[in-house]
Amino acid sequence: MPEILTRHRPLTLLATLVVAQILLLAFQIKRHNNVRLIRYWVSEVVTPGEKGASSTFSGIGGIWSGYVALRGTHAENLRLQQQVGQLELRNQELENQAAEAKRLSVLLDFRDAHREAPMLAAQVIGGSADISTHTLFINKGERSGIRRNDAVITPAGIVGKIVEVTPSTAQILLVNDRDSGVGALFADTRTQGILKGDGDPEPVMSYVTNDEKVHPGEVILTSGEDRIFPKGLLVGTVAGSKPGYPFQTIYVNTAARLDRLEDVIVLLSQEELHPQADETAGNVVVGLPPVPATHPAAEAASSAGKLSPSAAPSAAPSVAPNSSAAAKPDSHATKSAQPSTGRP
């Protein structure tokens, strides 16, 4: 090579001079978005090499990561699938716990708002096997202090009462059962009646004369006359009414979702609930004026022989919880005639 350059020295020098001046020009000339020509040339020369090297290395890397490094992928996939299954279970468990915590939080708020009233939170663990009756089982019983005829409510509204108690469980008779009877009144007119079941999912309010004007949406509260539910608890609203003889039939939408109960509150005494922290906590309305003692509904119930024996001497006759309870008064029924004592 040096011999050739020496032999053709003039040509070599010419080429050197020309190339040097071309490079000199390339340093000065700007083209393609104000980029110097020398940069453009170098880029054009170097870039394909860089691209080739990059694609070669990425190809080798792709072969390595796509094939060679996948030896343990199947086992890893199985392990990950197992892990995903465990995580899904865990996630479901946590979601359930979160929902439960939310429900219990509502119950706790309700309890905090009524510290003076003894009450007990319980979980619904089962329902009735008989489709014609509306009963539920809860996970608390006699050992927890639950007795027959204790009122069962939710922060939304009343649910029913305790009818059977075992040491560890208790059975609730829902307000929409045929055997249920709850003293109730309209919040606006103070007209009293009896809330009972008629076989449908929603209960009806009876013993309201046809003269009473009832409007859909009217609020219905407990009257306290049944000696089971404290006065002023929210029952529900009027869904509609139908004239009858001698009383009209009023259909009621219960405030508590009786078909979706999971957690309930058992009231261990019948004393009235007075909110301490928040007057509207748990949607419970309290502190209403007393109901007139001589109400047609109470009289009707009394004439039907449904008065509680222990409640009969009182000034305001109470409506018996149900016919069976009236027929078989027990010691708890006697206790419930003493409204504001609470359970020791």
Partner: protein, 177 residues
């Protein structure tokens, strides 16, 4: 004055190599550039005689040394670029380097003392110079410079005529052997 046409390496040794007094080449080249710049101030007259090109051809042919011819052409061309206001340095440098190389190479093979041969040589090298210039401008500067036009033909003829006169004047600066 004897006009001898030779070819090949053997013929080169028979062709007389002219020598000049010290500094003559530099002074003449500088004068050519200065005069060219001076003429440029007076309109388009300067383009009818590219004096730096003529000086490059003359000394290349006379010295008959390709290396010195192309170096002289490169220096004159770069100086010409430096004096222009928008030409990048190297544009005329490349063209005159090549012209200097060709002129000295041709001068080493043929005797170019006859006015006709000088006329023809300058005419041809003028167009070579223009071709290299146009090619460089087209490729590097992206300028649509023409390779050949009638105007260029006229200019080349005028330049060749001027060259015959100029070369005979420059012959007087030769050192007598």
């Amino acid at each position: 004055m004897a006009y001898t046409f030779n070819s090949g390496m053997q013929a080169e040794s028979n062709i007389e190599v002219h020598k000049y007094y010290g500094g003559v080449v530099i002074v003449v080249a500088l004068l050519a550039i200065i005069i060219q710049a001076f003429l440029h101030r007076y309109g388009r007259w300067s383009e009818f005689a590219d004096l730096p090109l003529l000086v490059t051809i003359y000394f290349g042919v006379s010295k008959r040394n390709p290396v010195s011819g192309m170096l002289l052409g490169a220096c004159i061309g770069i100086a010409q670029d430096a004096l222009s206001h928008d030409n990048p340095i190297g544009l005329y440098g490349i063209a005159k380097t090549i012209v200097g190389f060709i002129a000295s190479s041709v001068g080493a093979r043929i005797d170019t003392e006859h006015p006709l041969s000088r006329f023809a040589l300058v005419f041809v090298l003028f167009h070579v110079h223009q071709a290299v210039l146009a090619f460089t401008e087209r490729v590097l500067l992206d300028r649509p410079t023409p390779f050949f036009t009638v105007h260029l033909l006229i200019v080349s003829l005028v330049s060749a005529t001027v060259a015959v006169i100029l070369f005979s004047l420059l012959d007087r600066l030769r050192r007598q052997s």
